[in-house]
Symmetry: C2
Subunit: 278 residues, 2 copies
């Protein structure tokens, strides 16, 4: 990172943004930062991670090399407009959102397409906020990179090196393909965890009463409601297709159970295990 | 364990039975054992855990102190009849199955009620077989104990000490209450993991493509189909009630998504997080 990135602005110092700021600072990058929560911003400065706190106009980011948006996906498009107005010299503008179609379209619409490469690191957990951030969060994490139609190939390589520099394993994907894929690989498991938690809450069963397997199954229920509401709305069509498939499987399982159909039940569990073992 | 239990018979040397045999042997208990898989039985003998392999008539268990049935729940009732015929001196006959109503009723029907305390340790993971067994599996694990109506209080205390002796935290519960409770705390998460895996299999998404959260959500899909088919059939009514609740939550989530209802979506994620945080 250090050889070609001397300075970066990280907007949003939560679990992902805060961890990225830590990794960059640890590699000698000068980090300016912003968070709408003044306590978190102050904590990042006091920790020696953010060397220059920004005000809400981002007036200090005129000459940074890389700008990273690390806010919930429903806030990112407006934020990108404000960032685009405040910076003209940044080599790379990127983000960390869990959906990519809307932000890539917004970059194009704002005329920022040449400088923008959307990113989505598969890192983090159910926690959120600066307090949950830590060094090394991106080590060995898959990082999807979604360029715009106007992004030059050398900027995609620059973005690739940027994320490799903090330990990630970048992989380029079209934004629409990313969103369809993630509906299955990430958004579906999150929503299933939340609905399982809601069902248990409705039955008066506490998380303490679960065994290790049940606790694994409900860990994602602790994720930020704000962040996940935004993701769900932003990728609603693809997520609904995945949820419909899960609901269909559940309904077929219940039918086999009601019919006391040993073979059908066994076949469903066997399908699951075959998939798991592959 | 060692002071009052000198010998035990463990029937079924899979993940649970094999681990229990290891813990007992490590504490100086003489363990005789049986598994219908001759390779697993031989491995347990070769490992020095089982000092006396049993034949399918269990002719050698006449004088052991404790008999433990560690087989899938659909095989346990017949096995209990065979074990009851082969032993008359055992202080305690117990099991490790995930459902308790049927085996406790069978113990009563066979006239073994005075010597039987059903047990269900919340231990193990998605793996199965002797190869997955290990020492210390029950350390700090909740162990539900379900006596029959004929079990004497001192035998329940004996069973309590037996499971504490291998590290477990026993807790007495009526068999019917156990099965209703476990439908929510264990069987529901297992079935949801299996249906999620089946949905992903149907969409051609491999487990490797999942992030850490998705992998947590599908770990239980690797569980034994044989074991879980038996549990599902044995506790079908209670499990279906729990699955109906989960399906209802999923369906309400999809309705909120279709209506692009931010408040409703946010409320569902917030319910999940409130439950998680409590």
């Amino acid at each position: 990172v250090t050889s070609e990135v001397r300075s970066a602005a990280v907007i949003g110092l939560g679990l992902i943004g805060g961890s990225l700021a830590r990794d960059l600072a640890a590699r000698g990058v000068e980090v300016c930062g912003y968070d709408r929560n003044p306590d978190d911003l102050r904590a990042a400065v006091d920790a020696g991670i953010v060397s220059q706190p920004l005000d809400p106009t981002f007036s200090g980011i005129g000459d940074v090399d890389v700008v990273v948006l690390a806010v919930p996906v429903d806030g990112a498009p407006d934020l990108l407009a404000r960032v685009g107005a405040a910076t003209s010299d940044a080599t790379l503008i990127t983000d960390v959102g869990s959906t990519k179609g809307r932000i890539v379209a917004q970059a194009t619409a704002l005329g920022l397409g040449e400088r923008f490469v959307g990113a989505h690191p598969l890192a983090g957990d159910h926690r959120s906020g600066w307090g949950a951030s830590r060094c090394g969060l991106f080590t060995d994490a898959r990082v999807y990179l979604c360029p715009t139609d106007a992004t030059r190939a050398d900027l995609v390589r620059f973005a690739d090196r940027f994320w490799q520099g903090v330990g990630g394993r970048p992989c380029v994907l079209r934004a629409e393909d990313h969103d369809r894929k993630l509906a299955w690989t990430s958004h579906l498991p999150h929503v299933v965890a939340a609905t399982l938690a809601a069902a248990l809450a409705g039955a008066g069963v506490s998380r303490e009463e679960l065994g290790p397997g049940g606790r694994d199954m409900t860990r994602l229920a602790g994720s930020s409601p704000e962040m996940w509401t935004a993701i769900a709305q932003d990728n609603a069509v693809a997520i609904d297709a995945a949820l419909a498939a899960a609901e269909g499987e559940l309904s077929r399982f219940r039918a086999a159970l009601a019919a006391d159909d040993r073979n059908a039940l066994s076949a469903r569990f066997a399908t699951a295990r075959t998939w798991f073992d592959r």
